[in-house]
Amino acid sequence: MTALESANQLKAKFGDLVTEPTEFRGEISLSLADAEKIFEVAGFAKQTLGFDFLVDITSVDNYGEDPRWTVVYHLRSMTANTELRIKTNVSEEKSELPSVLPVWRSANWHEREIYDMMGIRFSGHPDLRRILMWEGYPYYPLRKDFPLAGKPTDLPNVAFTKPAPLEGGPFVTVAGGGDSIGREPRVRNPEE
């Protein structure tokens, strides 16, 4: 079964909940309208469609738009050698969606990382702690409104942070621009 056939089966099963599959460079994606249904979709994808491997879960911060979060699931079938991408949107007010950990156990750390970096919670996760930063760190550093240099914090006997000196940076490298002087890292305006 190809990835497109799997996506069509998913569409046939869940109807209006999922969009028509789109193809870009040979990769099939579809969106799920209701994030609360991700557990059922994940279960169907694994049990019936044979997507036995959860490659990754990522999150996107659509800052300034509503809904703010997009959570992206990358599925892979080891037997059919196909991949499928499922996207679903979560509003900032809710910032919560069901965990798919009972379907794929590898979701455990992926969901913890998203919680740590983006602040999206996964209901039903048995151990939703921060995975990279320490417990008690007050911010979610991969959000778009978090400054690149960081913010000052202090948790006595655990850790402290200070803003990093950016010295006019960030310094951006341009790919393929003429000579090495043109390519080297410099302060650049986004318009350039």
Partner: protein
């Protein structure tokens, strides 16, 4: 074949006696047996392993005894990126080392934060512990680490080590209290 110079120490003539200063002797011991605490946190630690291996051979300088217990170490070599999460652990390990102790910041990250101008990375290990020597490089060559070790030996030898002891101050009448 003559293996010994006439001008060197000769136990037949001088017996088992060497005349020196306590300071010089103690510093000589210290400088030639700097036991490193390898604080390997990132890729610099790979180069640090190369320093310990046969090609570069840190034991030529008496520092082959890498101690993974801070209580048996003299010199902490901070090799790698220090994150804020690790900073408290690093400080704690430094505090556990017995005096006298020295710190070498190996590489750009340990010295200044390096390329990580980031919310997660401590901008130089000298923010939390006193650093004796900084090694440039990303990562530094093993020769640079050996050079730093030799510089540290020079520093150890040049510093008085018993003048500040209370008993010496009392004996020489400097301690008024």
């Amino acid at each position: 074949m003559q293996t010994q110079s006439d001008y060197a120490y000769d136990s037949k003539i001088e017996g088992d006696v060497i005349v020196t200063r306590v300071d010089a002797a103690l510093n000589w011991f210290r400088a030639n047996s700097v036991w490193p605490m390898p604080m390997g946190l990132a890729c610099c630690a790979i180069e640090l392993m190369a320093v310990g291996a046969s090609r570069f051979d840190i034991s030529r300088f008496g520092s082959e005894v890498m101690r993974f217990s801070p209580r048996q170490a003299d010199c902490m070599i901070v090799a790698g990126t220090v994150t804020y999460k690790m900073a408290a652990v690093l400080k704690r390990i430094y505090d556990q080392m017995p005096e006298p102790k020295w710190v070498i910041a190996m590489g750009a990250c340990a010295s200044t934060g390096g390329m990580y101008r980031s919310y997660a990375v401590l901008q130089g290990v000298d923010n939390i512990v006193p650093v004796d020597l900084y090694i440039s490089g990303c990562p530094p060559r093993p020769e640079a680490v050996l050079d730093a070790l030799m510089e540290l030996q020079k520093k150890i030898i040049s510093q008085p080590c018993i003048q500040d002891l209370n008993i010496v101050k009392t004996l020489t009448g400097q301690n008024k209290s």
